[in-house]
Symmetry: C2
Subunit: 484 residues, 2 copies
């Protein structure tokens, strides 16, 4: 293989896996499958294969530090992390990656991958990609199809002329949108249909040409957004104004369902979109041999349960299920979902209801990731808040002050460097410092192990937006969306 | 009415309402029904009626401070709070109350009440008691029967000679143990049966005579335990050694099912034992007019649910139910129960399973009540623990020290008086103090509003039993069961 650039799409925030996946921390970044996250698995899928370049990541501002952190944890150096100023679906996102790559190499092959799917067999995936390379190099758009094993109504399907063969490409006849059950059953029986996995391989110039032909209005705003992009630390921020002009549209609607030069290669590997709790149940062996097993994760006691998924996400919370049939139970300390497994698709609508009622748990995750580490609220009351704060080795919070709150910091692990006013001192386990209201202060970790500290805030207003930032090594002073 | 002593039984710890009811804080002390607790309702049921004396409470050592706190909150001064050294069921407990009362007045009428049942209509209850008084004064044992409205197999029943009339007593024909469904249906149809509510009225000497006749072996150990009882603050601790000799037996088995001098008065009032989540669902209107409604409490979103009970017990935790049928969902941050409503009885067995596997949540409640207030763990890690501690006005923790941990205290509300070594100082909101490992220290609240403080403990061992107690206004230095 030569000149293949993995393009990783990770700006989305699926809510059908709520409460584990939330807008502030969506499923691609959550360790769902044991080791690592779906995003990390996708980023590493082509890593080290001959001729494969550093990946291009497309994400949004909120997730940028999670992206760089999760890549670093896997030892992957990205070619670029492109930041969408606003969500515009996959069409503009993929076109932006193409424009970016074409600037240096129009023949660059882009391997576009969603990062919230699971493909456990990396070797089989690479074999399929390799089979697609000659077609992509010859100016075709190559898509990858998954052999169906059930009449799934939640996916798009791809119609072929003849039954698919592993490693052999053939032209796509037609894309079929999410079908009704009878149609899905017919396609499954027919043997000439594959599931659309949303993975594409083509050269940057081929894709740009396809947009010119089928969605020409996107070319100008997206090109201007890429050309006007601004480098911000490790990130490439697309220009907000032209980007805002681009239509919100998926790549399937914009291009794929219209283009005539599409080939498909069967993906000879297990694949799952882990799109809802029902599929998590299935992928974890719930319906092995139709046995309607019960899948548990974490501290769970399931008594006489059948066909159910029971998950306790956090240490210290125990879930007991008694006599359950075909249910999904997902428990976190701040949110619990109990749903009929057949209604797994309706979780999305439920979260929309919560959001409409301003229920915080609809979107916000208890643990808040920042470039320097993370924090979580342990207790929140009228006039005080207690947080656990973890600062990574070498990291530092911004130099800041607050108008409405004072803070106590008690170090419980590691060694912190603390600045309060003009004084700078080191605090180790068991030591504490008081930051009076209005004092300019900074917390840093000069050591080699994480600093864990307990922060006790007191004051009449305790919102994250009570912050004046004087200096920040992560260049956040002009980024009102991110506090601390 | 004259000379009636309410005798409140509250030593038990039902687990069928787990996770809300746990061994460390059972259902009679939990606010289940809105205002107050079932224990408080029972304690207040006869309060202020003419001739009614201060209640006698029988409980165990673990609950003694909860009992005195909940009575104080209702402005009720108990006649005695008797502490059972070990659990021996209702037989010895009620006999102990009788022996205690008979020492001053053998003719004293005892109105024995379980404290974990619900009887909303106090006036109707008092009318029934009044109807029983002449019979009790005449040497009969009066029991109170509830008119059945369903073929309940979970209760004992009472057979009468004729259909019962409100306010009119008649002799009991027979006690019927928990019946099978067919028998329950027959009894319901027959109209000559009442449910046994476990409430009794008789003179102390009548009851003692009944024990002499039907369970004579209990007389000696129980009498010796009462005569050897030791006063400890507001409590009367029964002597442990003779008490341990008493058989573990219910008052029904020991006496009621054998005695020939029992009358029954129909209780013309709604009554529920709130014995399991199914009955909580029913009592909250779940099956009103057979409609199989869904009952929610707290932050709950129920979508297309039917015949279900969904409860979120704690602020900050949201429960979402989708498409549920006849389920019980009870969520707390540390424990979640999801059960088929028809299996509500099996919660008890599930908790026994958890206990056998040493799952902490089986028995221990997150919030720990102490004579001075309460505390709860906010975060627990390998080498540190964060607690919220609330100290009541005028209360004080013991003068103590720890061998394995140091503590930081940050006051977030109220004013605390803190002793560390020889130094005594006042801390108000926003101030903190460090208690080094080994330092003798005490926390007190000299003010008129509760003190709330955040405690951060650090050390290799953080168990509650790492405590050396030097002085304690609650006389706990010889009580190893209670730390702090």
């Amino acid at each position: 293989m030569a000149g293949i650039y993995p393009v990783l799409l990770c700006g989305g925030s699926g809510t059908r896996l709520w409460p584990v996946s939330r807008k502030s921390f969506p499923k691609q970044f959550v360790p769902l499958a044991g080791q690592g996250t779906l995003f990390q698995a996708a980023a590493g899928r082509m890593q080290g294969a001959p001729g494969v370049a550093a990946p291009v990541v497309i994400t949004n501002s909120d997730f940028r530090f999670i992206v760089s952190e999760q890549l670093a944890a896997e030892g992957i150096r990205p070619g670029a992390i492109m930041i969408e100023p606003t969500a515009r679906n996959t069409g503009p996102a993929i076109l932006a990656a193409a424009v970016h790559l074409a600037a240096t190499d129009p023949k660059a092959l882009m391997l576009v991958m969603p990062t919230d799917h699971s493909i456990p067999d990396v070797d089989a995936f690479r074999v399929a990609v390799e089979a697609g390379v000659p077609r992509a190099a010859a100016g075709r758009i190559v898509t990858f199809g998954v052999r169906p094993d059930r009449p799934e109504t939640g996916f798009g399907w791809i119609e072929l002329k003849a039954a698919p063969e592993d490693g052999a490409s053939q032209p796509v006849q037609r894309f079929v949108e999410k079908p009704v059950l009878e149609k899905a059953q017919a396609m499954l029986a027919e043997g000439r249909y594959l599931w659309n996995a949303g993975i594409f391989l083509m050269s940057a110039e081929t894709l740009i040409a396809a947009f010119h032909e089928h969605a020409a209005d996107l070319i100008k705003p997206v090109t201007e957004a890429v050309e006007g992009a601004r480098v911000d630390l490790d990130f490439l921020r697309l220009a907000a104004e032209p980007w805002a002009e681009a239509r919100d549209i998926s790549v399937d609607f914009a291009v794929m369902e219209k283009a005539g030069n599409i080939d498909v290669v069967p993906l000879g590997a297990a694949w799952s979109d882990l799109g809802d709790w029902n599929s998590v149940w299935r992928e974890n062996g719930g319906d092995r041999a139709g046995a309607k097993g019960t899948v548990t994760q974490g501290a769970v006691t399931a008594i006489d349960c059948e066909g159910s998924l029971l998950r306790s996400e956090v240490e210290g919370q125990h879930v007991v299920g008694i006599g359950l049939r075909d249910l999904v139970v997902v428990a976190m300390p701040d949110a619990v979902l109990v749903a009929d497994r057949a209604r797994a698709q309706d979780v999305k609508g439920a979260v929309a209801q919560l959001k409409a009622r301003s229920v915080r748990q609809a979107e916000v995750f208890p643990r808040d990731h920042r470039p320097w580490g993370w924090f979580e609220t342990l207790a929140l009351a009228d006039r005080f808040q207690v947080k656990r704060i973890v600062v990574k080795p070498g990291a530092a919070l911004s130099l800041q002050s607050h108008i409405h709150r004072a803070e106590h910091w008690v170090v419980v692990s590691g060694t912190a460097q603390v600045t309060v006013g003009d004084e700078v001192k080191l605090l180790s386990e068991n030591q504490s410092v008081y930051v009076p209201l209005g004092a300019v202060h900074r917390l840093a970790n000069p050591g080699r192990v994480p600093v864990v500290l307990i922060e006790v805030q007191t004051g009449a207003y305790l919102g994250e937006d009570d912050i004046i930032r004087y200096e920040d090594i992560y260049a956040r002073s002009d980024d009102p969306g991110t506090s601390r």
